[in-house]
C-alpha cells in the first residue's frame, strides 16, 4: 500500500498493511531541526526600530502571506517526508504585523478574526507565535470589525484554495496533505473577544453570541469548500473544546451553541465524499459521543497530559471514530528513551489499532519535540504496526 491507501484504509476502519503515521508538524523549531535549517531571526529584526516599519510594510501584503504560509507548510511537509510520515496537516492564516503597545515587542500579529498573536524567540532562535489576547471586547467592536474586514475574509477564502491546490500539486504524490480550513468555529467565536467576555455574552447577550457563531459557521463552510476544491481527501478542523480537566463549556451548552454548525460542516464534507477529522486539545471524554453524533470521522490529539487514555477512548466510542495521536509531547517525544518510545507505540497499537481506525501521531506540535525521537516513533510503528497486529 502507498501512503494514501494506508491512511484512507485506516480512516474507513479497515486494516491497512501497517498502522499509518501522521505528522502534526507545524512548529518551525521542529521543521528547522529536521531539515538542518537555520532559523530566521524575525523578532531580532523587528526589535530594530528603524527596520520594524519596513518589515511591516513588506509583510502586510497578501502576496507576502501567500508565500510565507506556503513555504512554511512546504517545510512542514518536507520534514514529514524526511521522517517517513504518511500524512501531515497544513496551516493557513492571514496576519498583519501591527504596532502594539501592549505587546512586549511593541509589535504583534493581528489576525483577520481579531486575535493578537505575540511574537517571541525560543532558545534556538526560532520564532514562537502565541495567541495572547482579544481585540474585540464589545459587541460594537465586533460588528465594526467584521464589516471592515469583509474583503479580508474573501481574500482569505481565495488564498486557502490556491494554497491547498499548490500543496496537492507539489506534494500530493508523496504525502497526504490533511487540509485545514481555518481556526474552528468555537475558537473563532471566543478568542477574538476573550474567554471572560465570551462567557459574559453567553449569559447576558445570547442573541449576539448566536450571531457571532452563525457568522463564523458561514465563513468556515466557505473555507472548507475552498480547501476541498484542491482535491484533498481529508480535512481537519482545529477547535479546542477542552482544557486540562474537562470541556471548557457545559456539554449541553456546546451542543446548543455549536451542534448545528458542526453538523453542517460534516454534511458538507461527506457530500463530497471526504473525511472530517477534528482536532481538540484537553480532556474531552464528555464530548466524544457528541462528536460521533455530529458526524466527525476522526479525532486528533487525545492529549495524555489532560488524562486522555487511548484504550478508554476506544472502549467508549468503539469504531465510530478514527483515533489519532496520543503520543506524549511533554516528555516522551522530547527526552524519552528509544525503549520508552517503543513501549508507548506498542501500547497505543494494543489499545487502538486492531481493526484499523488508528493513526499514530504525536499528541500535538511542540517546539521541544525532537525529530530523532519522532524517527524512533516511526521505526517502532514499522516494526510493530504490521497488520494483523500481534501484540
Amino acid at each position: 500500500m502507498n501512503f494514501k491507501e494506508r491512511i484512507l484504509t485506516a480512516m474507513n476502519h479497515e486494516e491497512p498493511d501497517r498502522v499509518p503515521v501522521m505528522g502534526l508538524i507545524v512548529d518551525p523549531a521542529t521543521v528547522n531541526k529536521t531539515l538542518n535549517k537555520k532559523p530566521t531571526d524575525l523578532v531580532g529584526m523587528i526589535k530594530k526600530p528603524w527596520l520594524a516599519p519596513l518589515i511591516a510594510r513588506f509583510m502586510n501584503t497578501n502576496r507576502f502571506w501567500q508565500s510565507f504560509y506556503y513555504s512554511n507548510t512546504a517545510g512542514c511537509l518536507e520534514s514529514a517526508l524526511k521522517l517517513g510520515f504518511d500524512a501531515n496537516w497544513t496551516i493557513y492564516a492571514l496576519m498583519q504585523l501591527r504596532k502594539d503597545t501592549k505587546s512586549a515587542l511593541g509589535w504583534a500579529w493581528h489576525d483577520a478574526y481579531g486575535r493578537v498573536w505575540d511574537l517571541d524567540t525560543d532558545e534556538d532562535g526560532n520564532t514562537a507565535v502565541n495567541y495572547s489576547r482579544a481585540l474585540l471586547e464589545t459587541e460594537e467592536q465586533w460588528e465594526r470589525w467584521v464589516e471592515a474586514k469583509k474583503p479580508l475574509f474573501q481574500t482569505l477564502t481565495r488564498n486557502v484554495e490556491g494554497f491547498h491546490k499548490k500543496l496537492v500539486k507539489n506534494y500530493g504524490d508523496r504525502i497526504l496533505p490533511i487540509g485545514y480550513a481555518a481556526p474552528g468555529i468555537f475558537e473563532n467565536s471566543w478568542q477574538p473577544m476573550g474567554f471572560v467576555n465570551f462567557t459574559r455574552f453567553v449569559y447576558q447577550k445570547p442573541d449576539f453570541v448566536k450571531k457571532v457563531i452563525s457568522f463564523h459557521t458561514d465563513h468556515y463552510l466557505k473555507n472548507l469548500e475552498a480547501v476541498m476544491k484542491s482535491g484533498v481527501e481529508v480535512v481537519l478542523g482545529g477547535d479546542d473544546f477542552g482544557q486540562k480537566t474537562g470541556p471548557m463549556l457545559r456539554p449541553e451548552l456546546i451542543e446548543k451553541l455549536f451542534g448545528e454548525s458542526y453538523r453542517r460542516v460534516t454534511d458538507l464534507v461527506h457530500k463530497q465524499k471526504k473525511k472530517y477529522i477534528h482536532h481538540s486539545c484537553g480532556n474531552i471524554y464528555q464530548l466524544l459521543d457528541r462528536f460521533v453524533a455530529w458526524g466527525f470521522d476522526g479525532i486528533i490529539t487525545l492529549e495524555p497530559t489532560a488524562g486522555m487514555d487511548l484504550g478508554k477512548v476506544r472502549q467508549q466510542v468503539g469504531h465510530k471514530l478514527v483515533l489519532i495521536g496520543n503520543m506524549d509531547v511533554s516528555y516522551l517525544l522530547v527526552r524519552g528513551s528509544r525503549e520508552e518510545i517503543e513501549e508507548a507505540v506498542k501500547k497505543a497499537l494494543r489499545d487502538a489499532a486492531r481493526g484499523g481506525g488508528y493513526i499514530l501521531s504525536s499528541s500535538h506540535s511542540h517546539p521541544l519535540v525532537d525529530p530523532a525521537r519522532l524517527g524512533w516513533m516511526v521505526e517502532a510503528a514499522h516494526k510493530y504496526g504490521k497488520y494483523p497486529i500481534s501484540l
Binding site: K102, A104, A128, S132, T199, K244, M248, L249, P367
Partner: protein
C-alpha cells in the same frame, strides 16, 4: 431578613444570576435587616467554595467557574469600600503573577478571585513579570505562597529562573511556590523545584489553604 438576604445572595450566585446577586448585595450594602458587609462577603465566599467544589467534581465547567468569579468580582466592588482592613482575618498573603514573555491572565485571574474570596490577601503582579519583580515582591510582602502562571512552552524556563534567584537571595525557604498553566506538567514542576503544580485555579486555592492551616 438578614438571613434571607444572605441566602438570596448565595443562591443567586450559584444560579449564575448576576442581576439578582447584585440586587441582594445592594440590600446588604444598605444595611437591610442586620446584615453587614462582612456577612455578605462571607456569603460570597461560601458560594464560591461551592462553585469550586462543583468544578473539581466535574459538575460544573470552566465557563461557569469564570462567570461565578465575574459575579463575585462585581459584588466585591460594592462591598469592598465598606470593609475595614483587618489583616488578622486574612489567611495569609499570596503573591501572584504570569512569567515574563507571557501576557495570559485568565487562569491567574480566576485564582485571584477564588483566593481572595477564601480570605487570602492577594498581591497581583500582573502579566509579563520579570524575575526581579517576583523576587522583590517576596522580599517586600513576605507571602505564604508565590503563585506563578505560565501558558507558553517558550517561557516556562522563567519559572526555573525565579526559583534560582530566590535561592541565590537565600529566601527560597521562606515561601512556598505554586505553579499552574497550560504549558506545565507535574514532571516539569518536579524538575523546576517548585512545591506544587495545579491543573486549575480551584485546586490552587485548596492547596494554599492547606499551607495556611499547617502554619
Amino acid at each position: 431578613m438578614s438571613k434571607e438576604i444572605l441566602e438570596q445572595l448565595k443562591t443567586s450566585l450559584l444560579e449564575l444570576d448576576m442581576e439578582a446577586t447584585l440586587k441582594a448585595a445592594n440590600s446588604a450594602v444598605k444595611g437591610e435587616g442586620t446584615t453587614t458587609a462582612q456577612d455578605a462577603v462571607n456569603a460570597v465566599s461560601d458560594a464560591l467554595q461551592v462553585v469550586g467544589k462543583r468544578f473539581q467534581t466535574g459538575e460544573w465547567f470552566l465557563s461557569e467557574l469564570v462567570y461565578a468569579g465575574e459575579i463575585a468580582t462585581e459584588v466585591m466592588k460594592l462591598l469592598s469600600p465598606l470593609m475595614k482592613a483587618d489583616s488578622s482575618k486574612s489567611l495569609g498573603t499570596v503573591v501572584v503573577g504570569t512569567v515574563a514573555g507571557d501576557i495570559h491572565d485568565l487562569g491567574k485571574n480566576i485564582f485571584i478571585n477564588y483566593a481572595r474570596s477564601a480570605g487570602f490577601n492577594v498581591i497581583d503582579l500582573g502579566v509579563d513579570v520579570p524575575v526581579p519583580k517576583f523576587v522583590n515582591a517576596v522580599k517586600e510582602h513576605k507571602p505564604l505562597a508565590l503563585g506563578i502562571s505560565c501558558l507558553l512552552t517558550s517561557t516556562d524556563k522563567e519559572i526555573g529562573r525565579v526559583i534560582e534567584e530566590l535561592k541565590r537571595q537565600k529566601i527560597r525557604g521562606s515561601v512556598k511556590v505554586i505553579i499552574g498553566g497550560a504549558a506545565l506538567t507535574e514532571g516539569f514542576a518536579r524538575s523546576a523545584g517548585v512545591d506544587a503544580f495545579v491543573p486549575d485555579a480551584v485546586t490552587g486555592t485548596d492547596i494554599v489553604r492547606k499551607w495556611s492551616a499547617s502554619q
